[in-house]
């Protein structure tokens, strides 16, 4: 175990955590509007999974997408500016929270029709195989997308045509307020859905960033070499409501249940590991908190000081121009 490596993973998760907490505050202040889906509690998956990729591999996700974008290295100021609807945002304020895109980082977008981006992921993978590139595509979605028809069509095509795509299913137990056992026939083994198409699939602990990364490294190497799909079911938990429109637990789960899962918090676990192996001190973590606090404060400042798009921007980019 390497000190710098572990502290860097912790830092990446901390950035997402603090960025999201600040986003919630900004939402309460009406600086951010619309739907805002927070990733708090699930940070180990974005950070662990994306740490196993090359910069030219493709990444695509559903609408709970801030974490992937930040873990992929997007500028927090540009991400926050997008949430604020400013012209300096990643998508010039036209996408918002659910539709972040960062093409130079091969983050191909957040999509807000559940299951609708999974066929796109197979298309990215189809393209890299067609172009004879040794790239992989990672596609994130929640377990709530698994029963959708588009997911099944995509699984079938990926398996049939041996496409180099890694499906990462974040099983956070609830599709909005409906628990998996009331929505998915194979709720106890969601990965089994993919196996039924002949896709190799495993369940992993999505609260452990080191476990996620080490499994992803194996999977990425295998998919890159074999050019065939893989399905990972990462068990996780979302601490906040489905979106900012919901209370943190609501009628569908108890406060006690949320508290119970918080004990497996991915940041706390990694911190305990670092401290117990004497690879870091409380002072290191304090310093990281200060650094990240500065990054997030600067992101807010950048967003707040950026102009809104003007009326002349309204019709731009409806159609691509030569």
């Amino acid at each position: 175990m390497d000190r710098a490596d572990l502290l860097s993973l912790y830092r990446d998760m901390l950035l997402i955590r603090r960025f999201e907490e600040k986003s919630a505050e900004m939402y309460a202040l009406a600086k951010i509007a619309g739907f805002l889906h927070l990733y708090i509690g699930e940070e180990a998956i974005a950070v662990g999974a994306l740490a196993a990729l090359r910069p030219d591999d493709y990444v695509i996700s559903g609408y709970r997408d801030h974490g992937y974008c930040l873990a992929r290295g997007s500028d927090p100021g540009q991400v926050m500016a997008e949430l604020f609807g400013r012209i300096t945002g990643l998508c010039k304020g036209k996408g918002g929270s659910m539709h972040l895109v960062d093409l130079p980082r091969r983050f191909m977008g957040g999509y807000a029709i559940v299951g609708g981006h999974i066929p796109l992921a197979t298309g990215l993978a189809f393209a890299t195989k067609y172009q004879k590139l040794d790239l992989v595509t990672v596609c994130f979605f929640g377990e709530g997308a698994v029963p959708s028809g588009q997911a099944h069509e995509a699984f079938n095509l990926a398996a049939l045509w041996k496409l180099p795509v890694i499906f990462v299913c974040e099983n956070n137990r609830y599709g909005m307020g409906t628990p998996a056992e009331r929505a998915i026939a194979l709720y106890a083994d969601v990965a089994g859905t993919a196996r039924s198409y002949g896709i190799e699939a495993e369940r992993i602990d999505g609260m452990d960033v080191l476990a996620v990364r080490s499994m992803m490294r194996k999977v990425v190497d295998q998919v890159r070499a074999n050019q065939a799909p893989y399905f990972l079911e990462a068990m996780t938990y979302r601490y906040m409501g489905h979106s900012m429109a919901d209370p943190a637990h609501g009628h569908y789960r108890t406060k006690e249940e949320v508290e119970e899962h918080r004990k497996q918090d991915p940041l706390l676990s990694l911190k305990r590991t670092i401290l117990s192996h004497n690879l870091g001190t409380e002072a290191d973590f304090k310093q990281l908190e200060r650094d990240i606090s500065q990054v997030v404060t600067a992101a807010i400042k950048f967003a707040e000081e950026s102009p809104f798009p003007g009326p002349s921007d309204l019709h731009d980019d409806v159609l691509a121009k030569e």
Partner: protein, 325 residues
């Protein structure tokens, strides 16, 4: 060179696929079966199964896959066996292909063609006979083309394949066997440019796809009755070449629009509104539309005939507009 509409499409795709290896054809039965309507005859033999890709019956899946491939730099041609089945891919077309560029602030784009036959053939009943072009025209971010002749089909399909935006390219089963002169050698026809298919002074008849042939035969019949009809084919439905239509209306003062689709919110309603706004003072009579009936397509032959515009209805509409002042 006289070729069929089917052969013209075949030539367009073949020439473009020879020119650019990023182009591939994907859809149900496009490969070994040679295309449900034989449009891709000989393709799998020439280009191989890597570029001529038979799919399972999963329109959302393979259309979405093609959009994803376009995002990564390829130029897919998606063949829908018919546009009726395209309804299953509407989420992909409307929510992804049409919006990617805008939502991403111009970062992503989906240069692909989604093509296949629309409208009614003979007695295929309600689920296989419908004209859905207005649905696609409604969506910002799509271009929509519906050619009527082999020449236009070839030139416009080549332009559609070279386009950097998603294009909906609507053919017709009853046009595939029709024949016509196509240009010699390499040519393209620009998207968004209408054509006057028959010059005349008394009235403008706007019609596209299969309805163009009906309009032209009605115009011949009407000329024997002393009514000189000008027939304008928009060819591209979106962006619509309003200028050509308006110039014609300014000359004739009268307009009838023929469309096979349902009347309510149909394409003719949009064309009429645009002409009223641009040329109201030039009109000598209200605009009339000849449309499909507002019913699901019935199977029985006399009922089907009654549901689709025919020559008698077009002639009656033209005479009625010419009679009113």
């Amino acid at each position: 060179m006289v070729v069929s509409y089917r052969e013209a499409l075949n030539q367009a795709m073949r020439e473009e696929m020879r020119r650019d290896s990023r182009i591939f054809l994907i859809g149900e039965e496009v490969g070994y079966y040679q295309g449900a309507f034989k449009v891709s005859k000989g393709f799998v033999e020439e280009f191989g199964p890597q570029r001529v890709i038979d799919t399972p019956i999963t329109e959302a899946g393979f259309t979405g896959l093609a959009i994803g491939a376009a995002m990564a730099g390829l130029h897919p041609i998606v063949e829908l066996m018919t546009f009726n089945f395209g309804i299953l891919a509407l989420d992909q077309i409307v929510n992804n292909a049409a919006k990617l560029h805008y939502m991403s602030g111009g970062q992503l784009s989906a240069p692909l063609v989604i093509r296949g036959p629309g409208s009614a053939a003979h007695q295929l009943a309600a689920q296989h006979s419908q004209s859905l072009e207005a649905w696609f025209c409604h969506v910002p971010g799509l271009k929509v083309i519906a050619p009527a002749t082999p020449h236009d089909a070839k030139g416009l399909l080549k332009s559609a394949i070279r386009e950097i935006n998603p294009v909906i390219f609507i053919e017709a089963q009853l046009l595939y066997a029709t024949k016509g002169e196509v240009g010699e050698g390499e040519y393209t026809i620009p998207i968004g440019v209408a054509e006057v298919k028959r010059a005349g002074d008394d009235l403008t008849l706007v019609a596209y796809s299969k309805m163009l042939l009906l309009a032209l035969s009605a115009a011949e019949q009407l000329s024997r009755d002393g009514i000189d009809v000008e027939v304008v084919d928009p060819r591209t439905l979106k962006p619509l070449d309003l200028q050509t239509i308006v110039s014609s209306v300014k000359k004739t003062g009268r307009l009838v629009i023929v469309e096979e689709g349902w009347p309510f919110c149909g394409l003719g309603a949009q064309i009429a509104e645009s002409v009223y706004s641009a040329a109201f003072d030039y009109l000598d009579a209200p605009i009339l539309r000849v449309t499909g009936e507002d019913v699901p397509m019935p199977y029985s032959r006399p009922l089907e005939d009654a549901a689709i515009p025919d020559q008698l209805r077009v002639i009656a509409a033209v005479k009625s507009v010419c009679a009113s002042r």
